[in-house]
Symmetry: D2
Subunit: 177 residues, 4 copies
């Protein structure tokens, strides 16, 4: 139930392999960095300048499992989720904010590669009988942890590494849920 609409639709490519973690309950949580490209005309040179926007995506549940298994660096993917801004503390004790696209039970994912993302990546462990272009409209099974926040996930590429906690340890040990 909700009062309002909060929807994000992206088609882009993964900047690196997805990072998979698990909640204490055994639910998968996957972090992606997704690039969407747009070129624009520079006002001075009049030239077409490419511009890349990077998006931090967090997936939960069944979609997360599929994403962790089949997506790789370079994979093209369609994603539907919602915006969520998390607050965290920098080393200096100041608040920081990170906005992510949350893909949970209400979200959607569709792989758009006809032949796998990157051959190299697939050799490093991707399954053989890879289901191409499958889409998962995540339905009944699990309860995403998304509300509890603090699941961690390293917003690399957005925050200076010096100012970020090490979320992996937090994720396994410290986070109170």
């Amino acid at each position: 139930m909700a009062r309002g609409v909060n929807k994000v639709i992206l088609i882009g490519n993964l900047g690196q392999d997805p990072e998979t973690r698990y909640t204490p309950n055994g639910n998968a949580v996957v972090n992606l960095n997704l690039a969407t490209d747009e070129s624009y005309k520079d006002r001075q040179s009049g030239q077409l300048v490419p511009k890349t926007e990077w998006h931090r995506v967090v997936m939960f549940g069944k979609i997360a499992e599929v994403a962790g298994q089949y997506l790789r660096k370079g994979s093209k993917v369609y994603i539907e989720g919602k915006l969520q801004t998390r607050k965290w503390q920098g080393q200096d004790g100041q608040d920081r904010y990170t906005t992510e696209i949350v893909v949970d039970i209400n979200g959607q994912m569709q792989m758009l590669d006809s032949r796998g993302g990157s051959e190299g990546a697939m050799n490093q462990g991707a399954p053989q009988g890879r289901p191409q272009n499958q889409q998962y409209n995540q339905q009944p099974p699990q309860q995403p942890q998304s509300q509890s926040g603090g699941y961690g996930g390293n917003p690399q590429g957005q925050q200076p590494s010096g100012g970020m906690p090490e979320p992996v340890d937090d994720f396994d040990d410290d986070i109170p849920f």
Copy 2:
């Protein structure tokens, strides 16, 4: 032209009156804080807990002018835009990142109030013959400045005030465009 899809669709209410600024070229730039609500069931209490997500919206061009004129604190609005993350420097010299929904020439806005957002706000200067429920699908006229970044805008409600530059002055004097 773009390679990828980057789309955000929101329906929510303004947390405060919009802030309007102008570029040196005279183009309007409007900042909004938009709340979308979603309630979820708490795992412990089993109760329905309301959860509000706040979104920073930046509008350009004709849509910005309309938004600045007719939207007020509390107004309900439909917005279609794209995600953009800006980098800025905190007072401590460290990088900060702010993610905004940019509504430019390709975006869309629709006012959803049948009688204006808040009566009080309207008395403070909103025009009488207010066009209700009008939608503006911003088309040909201007070139949004969105690419040049640095137009400022105070991301209040998201960043600690101590760590933010004063964008109003920057906007008028210092920003190099």
Copy 3:
């Protein structure tokens, strides 16, 4: 599960009160006619001509119940669903096709009236403690019948009445499900 994306997002007003029916299993099925307006410039006169597009919407499950209870002629509503084209037989034995927006367990609805659609309609049976601006993101409960087709529903406003079967009777008696 799906391979592909099929998504429709509408904000419009109901042309008349919703029609509610029930499947033999007791699941609600609601038909709406929704108007979305767009004005365009006539090439000859140069004048702004209003243009209304009518959409046939079919809702299932919990969303249908809410829509049937709270929406009325004139109500403004946000709808997210998918396109589906049904084939039916005209009186002349020829095939006809009707395209509908199906709002089922994956869809979404949000009422956008601050004070109900039309006062008159509300007097004709709408409940008092009407939940305003509530949104229902239909989740786990029921299995929509949407696939079995043939639930009927009178696509008035789109098909000439002379060429349409009487779906109400069909709905109660003849449809094999």
Copy 4:
């Protein structure tokens, strides 16, 4: 300008090569049939049954030119447009209605094939230096004819061929615009 939202987002495959026509002004008009797949569980057998939904898409302007040039039978494509229902006369003099997804100056298209749609089709005239995965967010140039209706386009696969006018002739000669 519009009052309301009317948006369709599809990812699917072309059932056949696109059909390109030109208005008397020389503007391209392209018709596509797009398949989106969804599988559902049959209530009786409990089996996963594939279900294909076919969509009639009409494109105008620059997007139409690109689609006509680069899309082929089997191509996977992302499309954003709006719903429009056209009325036409069957041979029996009765009204018929066809719902189409109109992709005009406000729409969007993105090719999602990494290596072209179908090799066979490409041999039949597709250009060599094919720009893969390019997206066109159609902006300033032309005025779509979409409002004047009657541009024709053969809704094959939806209407019985016996009941349809021959739109190609109409398109070139008879349509009054």
